[in-house]
Amino acid sequence: MSNMQRHTGKKKWLGMAALLCSVFVIVGAAREQPPAPPDGFVPADSLPTQEQLPAAPLLIGAYAVAWVAVFGYMWSIWQRIGRVEQDLAEVSRRVAAGGPR
């Protein structure tokens, strides 16, 4: 085997080793990287559990708000009618007594 041939064989082995090394580095790097984010929206049911919002508090909150608003308003009408009736009775009494005092 000539010197020339020996030199070419050594180069081949070095080239193959470099190729293998680079393949290992690329595979390793690909394993370490997080998965690429998907395009568009992620369906809510595909999210990790810790990122999912519980629906029950939102549902209960919505119904509670509706009832508080309705009952609050009914109470306010009740109060206002009561005040007006009171004033009406007072003024009627004044009129019956013969004018303003």
């Binding site: 809510a44 919002l53 939102l58 919505a62 509706a66 007006v84 003024v91 009129v95």
Partner: protein, 218 residues
């Protein structure tokens, strides 16, 4: 209305008592699950709000053109209920949206136009309260603009691109969801009728009180 008030109150109370059971029995929507059940109060509150806004607008028009004070009393009562039911819709909507869309609010055509419409009626009430003499006519004109907004808000989901579902969703409900929705809608309409009657009665009594004050001063 006085004769109808008590029977209607009993019927509406019975409907609202049965509503939680009907909503519980309704099937889950496939993509949103449990949170979609906000729909059964959210949509009826908007239906009633639209109705209240239209009543307020028509009554205001009668007040402006026919100068009937009784129409103005109806308009004030309806405006207050527009704000009340709009508030329910504006709070329940974001609670639903947070889970379904991942955001509390989106400045899209439907949500923004609904908010603007609600603000017009808030402005109506503020004008009535702090506007002083002559504010009745100004606020009546404002109510006309508020009523004119109703079709824009309703059709906005069909015309513009928005995250909000289209109006066709309600018509395409399967019967198991449609029945509780109808029950809740009728209950809300009944509740609205009762509240409107009570609120108009309050305005009538206030008018009587004003007349009485004037007679005492004379």
């Amino acid at each position: 209305m006085k004769k109808l008030f008590t029977p209607l109150l009993v019927i509406v109370a019975a409907m609202f008592a049965y509503a939680p059971l009907a909503i519980h029995r309704a099937p889950y929507e496939s993509t949103m699950g449990l949170v979609q059940k906000i729909f059964y109060f959210h949509v009826p509150s908007w239906i009633v709000m639209f109705g209240a806004a239209c009543i307020c607008g028509v009554a205001s028009a009668i007040f402006i053109f026919a100068r009937r004070k009784s129409a103005d009393r109806v308009a004030v009562a309806a405006a207050e209920l527009t704000v009340l039911f709009g508030l329910i819709g504006l709070i329940t909507g974001p609670l639903w949206g947070r889970k379904a869309w991942g955001v509390w609010w989106q400045w899209d055509a439907r949500l923004t136009s609904a908010l603007v419409m609600w603000l017009i009626f808030v402005a109506y009430l503020l004008l009535r309260k702090y506007g002083g003499a002559g504010s009745e006519k100004l606020s009546a004109v404002l109510a006309l603009f508020g009523m004119a907004n109703v079709p824009f808000v309703y059709w906005s989901v069909n015309v513009w691109r928005t995250v909000h579902p289209k109006t066709t969703v309600v018509m395409s409900l399967q019967p198991a969801m449609g029945r509780p929705f109808l029950l809740c809608s009728l209950a809300f309409v009944g509740l609205f009728a009762l509240m409107l009657a009570a609120r108009i009665q309050l305005e009538h009594r206030r008018a009587e009180l004003d007349d009485l004050y004037l007679s005492v001063e004379d």
